[in-house]
């Protein structure tokens, strides 16, 4: 191995991909799309096998002890990487913002949580803010010359400042036009277990979101969190609205040949 080759390998950041439990179980395409985008951005990607979920369901239900235990096991799995990236603002914020808070009074773990937190990024923010990616080289599945509208997921937007990053990357896709809906920064009604606990209220929130999406005339609603997309797509499907829903990573990686989360594809 010559010196130049060696340098090339060590320069490439080691990225631990935190899949998120929803992507892991429901839509692996998003995981593969995220991995492709990271590799295209010059990263070496690993997906630790023992990863579970970020612990938000327990954390937000008030089960702090379980959330802290999940945080500790996640730290052990991911602290060896240069970066941890999640195709979800919600999970990334859990790792980056809430793990340090959860473990701040645990002397054995506070520093490890803080160090891990600093390395955790939401996918589009990592690509643009850390890796300096300005454009992606992907196109739509054949024939799509559509209009999309972007939904800002709450945790990514308010806890991580993710707003311009996905729009900037999406703008580099040929044949795509973007139009913001009037309440792009308003909650879609998912809220983790909120949507099951308070289904009627959640549905009203999703309906407001969908009305705003429909008003743009967009063919597709795009977001960075599968949770939001499930809530929106599930409601679009039940209402019979012909608007597709897809994760931003699918578009950016050009992995749009499979069916959308909802709609007729």
């Amino acid at each position: 191995m010559n010196a130049e080759h060696h340098k090339k390998i060590t320069d490439a950041p080691q990225v631990g991909l935190f899949a998120s439990c929803l992507v892991d179980a429901l839509r692996p395409t998003i995981g593969f799309a995220a991995a492709k985008l990271l590799e295209d951005a010059g990263c070496i990607v690993s997906v630790p096998e023992r990863q579970v979920c970020c612990g938000q369901p327990a954390y937000n239900a008030g089960d702090r002890k379980a959330a802290a235990a999940i945080a500790r096991q996640t730290i052990v799995l991911f602290e060896k990487f240069d970066y941890v990236v999640a195709p979800s603002g919600s999970c990334a914020a859990m790792l980056r913002v809430h793990f340090p808070g959860l473990l701040s009074d645990d002397p054995a773990w506070a520093l490890r949580a803080a160090v891990l937190g600093e390395k955790c990024w939401e996918l589009t923010s990592f690509l643009t803010d850390v890796r300096g990616v300005a454009a992606v080289k992907s196109g739509f599945h054949s024939g799509f010359r559509g209009k999309i509208t972007y939904h800002d997921s709450c945790a990514g937007l308010r806890e991580l400042g993710v707003r311009k990053q996905p729009r900037k990357l999406l703008a580099s896709i040929d044949g795509l036009t973007m139009k913001d809906h009037s309440i792009a920064d308003v909650c879609c009604g998912f809220g983790g277990t909120f949507c099951v606990k308070y289904g009627k209220i959640s549905t009203a929130m999703t309906d407001a979101k969908i009305e705003a999406v429909l008003a743009t005339g967009a063919d597709m609603v795009v977001a960075g969190d599968l949770g939001c997309l499930l809530a929106i797509a599930g409601r679009l499907s039940r209402r019979g609205d012909r608007v597709e829903a897809r994760h931003v990573a699918e578009l950016l990686a050009g992995m749009t040949n499979g069916p959308p989360i909802s709609g007729d594809g």
């Binding site: 089960d63 379980a66 309440i183 606990k197 209220i201």
Partner: protein, 486 residues
């Protein structure tokens, strides 16, 4: 115009039932959509006019923190300075003491009617019921509160108490209440409604024996109270009757007028998106020898009602609240169901934190479920002018409930079981496999998309669920990597 007893919130139907009723009420939905659409638009315009708004928020937050850190000294200083102006300060530990004190002052001056300007504390301690029980007629003079008093309703919003009503409903209640007016009169616009209310209220101001106001701040170094209104009614309430009583929560103390102004700068902007309200009034003591008007006696009733207990605990930051209502105006849950669905004096995100903490230990009643009704979207914290971390405080309340084993909402047991499994990755992987398989079977049975989810009826009542693509990403990825490297 004696107000009926307020509806007993604790025996009212629970939050989900009230929320469902609110969602099915098209008039209410129209009012809420109007509120949030206009407020969002006007707030954006307001922020555009004042790029330094975040710095003003930081300053107001620091002022409020200073107040809370020095509350004991500030309140004593306030009392001393009120005494120097000839006023009297009354200290009340709870709602009962506060109501007794106010009623006692009213009785001592032989009051038959009292004119009131808007006060959330008055709602919190149910003062009107108490006055009515003592045969003293309370007259609300804030237009919104006046309408609600005619309708025997409680406020649904901190600064826009009647925001759940439309103009037609208000015209109806005026026609019903103002029976000496021509039934055929025109009440088709806001000006007509306002003119009629103003005419009705003018005599009430003149007749009132006592005026009761709240206060937006207690200024310690002058003994003044600060009143912020848009209707000017508070100014008539405190200056026309012979006796003025200000009822105020102890957390409202502030060291100086400058500090109070720091709060004012963010208050109107956050509450109504105005730069400043129409009237900002400082009231210092009773009428002096050369004053043109003013009351001959001035009382400040300081009310604790759980605040000092709150100050000593993990929810102290919520005492920074300046009652602007911005967290309600922009909360998507509040926007879906309105204030009355919460069944509490203080609705929305701030209500979810105040309601369990104020009053006697255990809160103002029926409150433990309120912090659950949030998607934690963080909009409330984003707009709070004094940066109260409302989602974190609501989560903390959920932790209290979880520790008390108060299974307040369906599904909490499942979350606990899930949390247990997530700490055991092998078990989690097995569960994941079974889960994916079952969802795929469900999807196959129903022809592609899942229309009924066992254990998650709250979802599938109104939403479909996509069929999983198949397999776990984590397993698929690592299997592929092993294949590539072998």
């Amino acid at each position: 115009m004696i107000m009926d007893a307020a509806p007993d919130q604790s025996s009212a139907p629970d939050f989900p039932a009230r929320a469902a009723a609110a969602l099915a009420d098209p008039t209410l939905q129209g009012a809420l959509t109007k509120l949030q659409t206009e407020f969002r638009r006007d707030r954006a315009a307001m922020l555009g006019r004042i790029p330094e708004f975040d710095q003003l928020r930081d300053h107001a937050t620091a002022i409020r923190n200073h107040s809370l850190a020095h509350l004991d000294e500030l309140l004593e200083q306030f009392e001393t300075n009120v005494s120097l102006t000839g006023g009297i300060v009354h200290w009340c530990r709870n709602a009962a003491e506060a109501c007794e004190t106010v009623t006692g002052i009213c009785r001592a001056v032989g009051a038959e009617t009292v004119a009131k300007s808007k006060s959330m504390l008055s709602e919190e301690i149910a003062l009107n019921d108490h006055l009515a029980a003592a045969s003293i007629e309370p007259v609300e003079t804030d237009l919104g509160e006046y309408i609600l008093q005619l309708r025997h309703e409680t406020p649904s919003h901190i600064v826009m108490p009647a925001i759940h009503l439309n103009a037609g409903q208000i015209a109806d209640v005026f026609r019903e209440a103002h029976t000496d007016h021509d039934p055929a009169r025109y009440l088709g616009d806001a000006d007509a409604l306002l003119a009629e209310a103003r005419a009705m209220l003018r005599q009430k101001f003149l007749d009132a024996d006592v005026g009761i106001t709240g206060a937006n701040a207690l200024i310690a170094d002058t003994g003044s109270i600060l009143l912020v209104t848009n209707e000017g009614n508070a100014d008539l309430v405190h200056s026309l009757p012979k006796t003025h009583i200000a009822i105020v929560g102890i957390e409202k103390a502030v060291a100086t007028l400058d500090g109070a102004m720091a709060v004012v700068r963010v208050l109107a902007r956050s509450a109504t998106t105005q730069e400043v309200t129409s009237y900002t009034t400082l009231v210092t003591g009773k009428r002096r020898a050369n004053d043109a008007d003013g009351p001959s006696s001035f009382h400040v009733v300081l009310v604790d009602n759980g605040r000092s207990r709150m100050l000593a605990g993990p929810y102290a930051e919520a005492l920074r609240c300046i009652r602007c209502g911005a967290c309600q105006s922009l909360c998507p849950v509040y926007g879906a169901v309105g204030g009355h669905a919460y069944g509490a004096v203080y609705a929305g995100p701030i209500g979810a934190v105040l309601t369990p903490n104020l009053g006697a230990p255990g809160g103002l009643g029926a409150a433990r479920h309120l912090p659950q009704a949030s998607s934690f979207c963080g909009q409330c914290e984003e707009v709070c002018p004094v940066r109260i971390p409302l989602p974190a405080l609501m989560r903390r309340l959920r932790e209290d409930a979880f520790e008390d084993r108060q299974i307040t909402v369906a599904g909490q047991k499942w979350i606990a079981a899930w949390g247990w499994a997530a700490q055991r990755p092998a078990l989690y992987r097995l569960g994941r496999r079974i889960g994916i398989l079952m969802l795929r079977i469900l999807a196959k049975v129903s022809g592609g998309t899942i229309r009924t989810l066992p254990l998650a009826g709250g979802w599938s009542a109104t939403r479909d669920f996509p069929a999983p693509e198949g397999g776990s990403f984590v397993e698929l990825w690592n299997r592929r990597k092993r294949r590539e490297s072998s």
